[in-house]
């Protein structure tokens, strides 16, 4: 964990509620896909945990959805604003668990952390199929970004306005993707349905209301098959067999 001051380099809407923010500065603590950062915002007591979408030397990309006062304030941050950020939080995904063909499944605002994961898996010479689930066409974001870095992309919308009509599990069944390991991030019902729909092993990224974000307050603890774990510290990524549904 490292506390740094980062500068907003861009901040633009991808859909009416989902924004992409680029930050520049010391990003040295961000090393694995699937981790998160915590942003300090004016007038709010607790920091806001936001998953890392992508990172390079000196640049951090966050894709976030406006769900409350914190993210609403983030959406209003102007280019050039300096913000106090705790970086390098959470365990992240383990790309070595996939041998040759990974299935990545993202639901709504669970999509962003899969982007850097895709880049890493492809850099390791693995085949990547990404299934992105949204409610409707207007909510779709990042499908092209995944294609540009070499992933096969399948979009599912609950209302059928684009791609396959239905949930991500419907899309996986219909397309019959042959994978050896899966990685997923999204709403709990989606993660549960996905885990039940496949016998293959996988890693899932969970979300929980956090206090500190770095393991000291026990605010985000969950029960797992291997005991109590903190979503912020031992997680947010857990192995499928560890999760108690």
């Amino acid at each position: 964990m490292k506390r740094v001051i980062l500068e907003v380099a861009s901040n633009r809407p991808l859909t009416p509620l989902v924004y992409e923010m680029q930050l520049t500065g010391d990003t040295s603590a961000v090393t694995r896909p699937g981790g998160f950062v915590e942003i300090s915002l004016d007038g709010l007591f607790l920091r806001r945990p936001i998953s890392v979408c992508d990172f390079d030397d000196g640049r951090l990309t966050l894709v976030y959805k406006i769900v409350g006062k914190g993210t609403e304030q983030m959406a209003g941050l102007q280019v050039g604003t300096k913000i106090d950020v705790l970086t390098g939080l959470g365990n992240g995904f383990d790309t070595t668990l996939c041998h040759s063909h990974a299935l990545l499944v993202g639901g709504g605002v669970g999509v962003p952390p899969l982007y850097r994961l895709t880049r890493n898996l492809i850099a390791e010479g693995k085949q990547v199929s990404v299934v992105l689930g949204f409610n409707t066409q207007a909510e779709i974001f990042y499908a092209d970004e995944f294609r540009k870095v070499g992933a096969e992309v399948i979009v599912a919308t609950a209302d059928g306005s684009q791609g396959i009509k239905g949930f991500v599990t419907d899309a996986i069944r219909q397309t019959g993707i042959d994978f050896d390991y899966f990685y997923a991030c999204g709403p709990l019902p989606m993660l549960k349905a996905l885990s039940e729909a496949t016998d293959k092993p996988g890693e899932l990224s969970l979300e929980e209301r956090m206090g500190c974000g770095f393991g000291i307050c026990m605010g985000c603890s969950i029960q797992t098959a291997s005991g109590a774990k903190r979503v912020c510290k031992e997680g947010p990524v857990f192995k499928k067999e560890d999760i108690i549904w």
Binding site: L46, K69, F214, I216, C217, G219, S221, Q223
Partner: protein
């Protein structure tokens, strides 16, 4: 001029009055990677119970104006695991006296937990949290009645020779009567105060934010209330007080001490700023210089 930041609690000298409050610092392991823990006066470890506890269901956390609510529910690995694993690990990264915070759901549990942790060499003060549900007393918290607070005090005093600080709940009509009852029952000191019972509602979903509905409100917002209670108790009791509640700056530390605290705990602020205690300790000499304070301990209770 060299400013003297040291303070004394029951004959134990602390290099400075800044102590991370129980539950906001774990057992020190994570924080030892953030800064050198030996700069702290002491550490009050995560509340420990006789049996391991997972605590309450999530969500356990809610944001508030200038504060937060938590309903963690005393998650801890149990006193045996704390003694076998957590304390030896803490010993590697913190070489000063620690405060062991204990909780219980019956008088017997308090005394058994205390008797066990009393044997740990690095524990120099035992802090007894009496704001947990009392299964022996119609669901009332031990800390909300003078009689039950005194009963817990006597039970733990009977099994340890180390100084016992009773950590009191602010959710009471008259904190002074409870503080006096603890003092009369043999308490060596008091920690004032624990969190204030609070609640938030998610107005979109029409349900409480916290799964347990209510929780403990802490953070900067509670500072004036905590300060007032420290002052009131300092006027009525002779035993030392550790002030706790909303402390976030070196000026807050000075204010708490002027109200009557001999040392100060920093709680929720650690969760939003992991460097909070380190920054307060760094600022203290500068604030003392500005205020013309040579020995920090001299300001304890100067407000009459």
């Amino acid at each position: 001029m060299v400013r003297d930041l040291s303070v004394e609690l029951c004959g134990i000298t602390l290099d400075n009055p800044v102590i991370p409050a129980s539950g906001t610092f774990g057992f020190g392991e994570e924080m030892s990677k953030v800064y050198d823990l030996d700069i702290l006066g002491s550490i009050s470890i995560k509340g420990t119970t006789r049996e391991p506890r997972f605590g309450n269901p999530t969500p356990r956390i809610a944001e508030c104006s200038s504060g937060m609510i938590n309903a963690v529910g005393l998650q801890n690995p149990g006193v045996d695991a704390v003694i076998e694993h957590e304390l030896p690990e803490l010993r590697k990264v913190f070489h000063k006296p620690i405060i062991a915070n204990i909780s219980g759901f019956s008088i017997e549990e308090y005394s058994e937990c205390c008797a066990k942790i009393d044997k740990a060499e690095q524990v120099e003060i035992i802090e007894v949290n009496v704001s947990c549900p009392n299964v022996h007393n119609g669901g009332m918290a031990f800390g909300t009645q003078p009689e039950s607070a005194a009963a817990v005090t006597r039970a733990v005093k009977a099994v340890t020779t180390k100084p016992v600080f009773i950590k009191l709940s602010p959710n009471v009509t008259d904190i002074v009567s409870i503080a006096r009852a603890c003092e009369e029952a043999g308490a060596d000191g008091l920690t004032l105060v624990n969190t204030m019972l609070g609640m938030r509602i998610d107005i979109m979903r029409r349900r409480p934010v916290i799964a347990n509905k209510m929780g403990g409100f802490s953070g900067r917002a509670i500072f004036p209330v905590a300060l007032r209670m420290v002052y009131q108790v300092a006027q009525a009791c002779r035993i030392p007080i550790i002030g706790c509640g909303g402390v976030a700056t070196a000026e807050d530390v000075v204010e708490m001490m002027m109200a009557g605290a001999s040392a100060v705990q920093v709680g929720a602020e650690n969760l939003r700023n992991p460097f909070a205690c380190a920054e307060i300790i760094e600022q203290l000499p500068k604030v003392m210089e500005r205020l013309g304070i040579e020995r920090l301990r001299d300001i304890t209770g100067i407000i009459k």
